[in-house]
C-alpha cells in the first residue's frame, strides 16, 4: 500500500515538472546594433525571473553578462533571437557588453542590469 501511495504521489508531482516553462516575471526586448544596446540600462526587482530577448539590427553581436556567467551570440538580423533567462538574486549593478567584435565602436557597446 505504501508503494502504491508513493507511486501516486510521484505521478501527481510529475506534471509540475512537465509543465511548459514558467512565465518570467519580466521580459525585456533588447535591440543590438552597431554600436549600442537599446535599452542599455535595465532595472529589475530582486528575486525576479528575468528574460532578455535580444535581436540584432545588423551583424552578429555578443552578449556577455559576466555576473550571470553568460556569454552568447546574438544572431544577425533576420536569423532569430537570443533568449537569456536569469534569476536576479542579489541587488547590485551588473555590466553587460558585446563580446563579438562588431566594428569600429565595439568597445562602446555596453549596458547595465540594475537589480533593486
Amino acid at each position: 500500500m505504501k508503494t502504491l501511495l508513493a507511486l501516486m504521489l510521484f505521478a501527481a508531482l510529475l506534471p509540475a515538472a512537465a509543465q511548459p516553462e514558467a512565465k518570467p516575471d519580466r521580459t525585456v526586448s533588447i535591440v543590438a546594433e552597431r554600436f549600442f544596446f537599446s535599452p542599455s540600462r535595465i532595472t529589475v526587482k530582486q528575486g525576479a525571473l528575468v528574460e532578455f530577448v535580444l535581436t540584432s539590427e545588423d551583424t552578429e553581436h555578443g552578449f556577455h553578462l559576466a555576473a550571470a556567467r553568460v556569454n552568447a551570440v546574438i544572431p544577425q538580423q533576420g536569423k532569430g533571437e537570443l533568449r537569456v533567462r536569469f534569476l536576479a538574486s542579489k541587488k547590485g549593478k551588473y555590466a553587460f557588453e558585446c563580446s563579438r567584435a562588431c566594428g569600429a565602436g565595439h568597445n562602446l557597446m555596453r549596458g547595465e542590469v540594475v537589480v533593486k
Binding site: 502504491l4 505521478a11 515538472a17 552597431r34 525571473l49 556567467r69 533567462r85 569600429a104
Partner: protein, 443 residues
C-alpha cells in the same frame, strides 16, 4: 484499477518526454535556481538570528572576472549574483571571446568609372581589427588598414594606416576614459564605416569633403552612457593641419592621421547621441580647434557643427546629415599659403553640406537575403562664404543624386551598385556622372 494506478507514472513520464528534453532541462534549471534562491534567503534570515561563524566569511560572490563562460546553463552557480537559468538561440559558442585576441575586419573593392574616362578597379580597403581585454575594465581596440592594395615608399598609390588604436578605461557607465588614436566622433560614417552599414559604393560626398572620413587623431577623453538612451563622447584631439586645406576638397587633406600631430592647441570635440527609441538614432557633434601648427604667421580656428539621424520604419530606412563649418582668419591663411606655395589656395571661411537618403528593403525581414534600393540627394559647397577679397568658384558648389542598390546575400556582405548624377553651379562645365560597383564584407 490498481493496474491503472501503477501505469499512471509511466504515462506521465511518457507525457513528459513528449516535450523536448531541452524544455525539461530548462524547467529543472529554473526550479533549481528558485530553490537555491529560496535557500539563500532562508540562510540570510537564519543568519540574523544566529551568531556569526567563528571562521571568516566566504569571498565576495560577485565575480565579474572573465572566466570561461558555459554556453547553456541549467545548473547555475549559487555564488553568481545573477543566476543564469537558460540561454537559447545562441548561434555560436563564444565562451572565451574577448579574453583572447579577437580578429575581425572588413574589406571592399570597387570599380569606379567617370563618364568619358576608362573605369578603374581598386581594392580600396583591407582592414583588420584587433582587440584585447586586459580585464573587464581595461580594453584595447585597434584598426589597421591597407588602402588601395599596393604600398610603396613615398608613393601616393596606397597607404598602410593605423585607423584607431586606443585603450578604454571602463569606470562606470556614465564616465569612462579613452586614450590613443581616436576616430573623431563627428557625423554618421566616420565611426560607423563598415561597408555593409551604409548604402553606396563610396561614402557620401558630404562625409568626405565637409566631414573628412576616416578622420582620426591622437587624443584622449571621456565616453559614457547617460541613461534614457543618451550617450556621449568628449575628446581632446590633435588638430587639423590648415596648411593642407584645399578649396575643392575642404578639410579632407588636413587630417594628420596621428602622424606628427600637434597637441599645441588641442581640438575639442563632443558628440551627443540619442538611441532610446527602437530603430532611431540621432546625433549632434561640435568640433573646435586651431589648425595653424604648420604655419608661422596665422593660427586659424576651425569649428564644425553637425546634426545627423537614422530611422527605420518597417522596410524603409532614412538617414540624413547637415554639417556647417567655419574657418577663422581664412584671408590670412590664404595669404600665408600663397607666400609658401606661390599659388592662391582660395580657401573659404565657411563650408556647408547636407544629404538625405531614403532606402527600401524589397525582401521581407525574415528573408536570408536583403535587397535595398536607395536614393541619396547631396549638396555641398566648399566655398559657401569667402574671406574678403576672395571670390567663390561655382564649381565647388556641388550637388548629386546617387541612385543605387545594395544586395546582401548575408548580413555581413554587401554587393553594391550606384549611379551618381553630379552637377555644380558652374554652367559651362558640368562634373561627370559616375558609375560604381563594389563588394564589401565584414567578418
Amino acid at each position: 484499477m490498481v493496474k491503472s494506478v501503477y501505469f499512471a507514472p509511466v504515462l506521465f513520464v511518457c507525457g513528459a518526454y513528449g516535450q523536448s528534453t531541452a524544455d525539461l532541462e530548462r524547467r529543472v534549471g529554473e526550479l533549481t535556481a528558485r530553490v537555491q534562491f529560496l535557500e539563500q534567503k532562508l540562510n540570510e534570515l537564519l543568519a540574523v538570528k544566529t551568531p556569526p561563524p567563528a571562521e571568516p566569511p566566504a569571498a565576495p560572490v560577485a565575480q565579474l572576472a572573465a572566466e570561461p563562460m558555459p554556453q547553456s546553463l541549467t545548473k547555475p552557480e549559487s555564488t553568481s549574483p545573477l543566476e543564469a537559468v537558460s540561454v537559447t538561440g545562441d548561434s555560436r559558442s563564444r565562451a572565451d571571446a574577448e579574453s583572447r585576441l579577437p580578429v575581425a575586419g572588413y574589406m571592399d573593392f570597387h570599380f569606379n568609372k567617370e563618364r568619358g574616362l576608362p573605369g578603374e578597379f581598386d581594392f580600396h580597403r583591407f582592414v583588420l581589427l584587433f582587440g584585447h581585454s586586459f580585464s573587464s575594465r581595461l580594453k584595447f581596440w585597434s584598426e589597421l588598414e591597407v588602402e588601395h592594395a599596393f604600398i610603396e615608399g613615398g608613393e601616393e598609390s596606397g597607404e598602410v594606416a593605423l585607423e584607431q588604436a586606443y585603450l578604454d578605461f571602463l569606470l562606470k557607465p556614465q564616465f569612462n576614459l579613452r586614450a590613443g588614436m581616436l576616430l573623431a566622433p563627428v557625423g554618421i560614417v566616420n565611426e560607423r564605416h563598415e561597408p555593409p552599414s551604409f548604402n553606396g559604393v563610396e561614402r557620401p560626398f558630404v562625409e568626405t569633403f565637409i566631414i573628412p572620413t576616416t578622420w582620426r587623431e591622437m587624443g584622449f577623453g571621456a565616453t559614457g552612457d547617460l541613461g534614457r538612451g543618451f550617450r556621449y563622447r568628449a575628446y581632446l584631439m590633435s588638430g587639423l593641419d590648415a596648411s593642407r586645406f584645399t578649396s575643392g576638397e575642404g578639410f579632407g587633406a588636413g587630417k594628420t592621421n596621428g602622424f606628427l600631430a600637434s597637441f599645441r592647441n588641442p581640438a575639442k570635440v563632443t558628440r551627443l547621441e540619442y538611441v532610446g527609441l527602437r530603430r532611431l538614432a540621432l546625433g549632434a557633434s561640435v568640433y573646435s580647434g586651431h589648425t595653424g601648427f604648420n604655419l608661422h604667421s596665422v593660427n586659424p580656428r576651425v569649428d564644425i557643427f553637425d546634426v545627423d539621424g537614422r530611422y527605420s520604419y518597417r522596410r524603409l530606412d532614412f538617414r540624413g546629415l547637415f554639417a556647417d563649418t567655419w574657418i577663422s582668419r581664412a584671408g590670412e591663411l590664404n595669404r600665408a599659403l600663397q607666400l609658401e606655395t606661390g599659388s592662391n589656395p582660395n580657401i573659404a571661411s565657411r563650408m556647408r553640406g547636407a544629404y538625405l537618403e531614403s532606402a527600401v528593403h524589397l525582401l521581407p525581414r525574415q528573408n536570408r537575403n536583403d535587397l535595398i534600393l536607395f536614393a541619396r540627394r547631396e549638396a555641398w559647397n566648399t566655398q559657401r562664404r569667402m574671406p574678403e577679397g576672395y571670390v567663390p568658384l561655382p564649381q565647388f558648389d556641388r550637388t548629386s543624386w546617387v541612385l543605387g542598390a545594395t544586395y546582401k546575400p548575408h548580413a555581413d556582405i554587401a554587393v553594391k551598385f550606384d549611379y551618381g548624377f553630379n552637377s555644380s553651379a558652374r554652367s559651362v562645365f558640368r562634373p561627370a556622372d559616375t558609375i560604381n560597383f563594389g563588394i564589401g564584407w565584414w567578418f
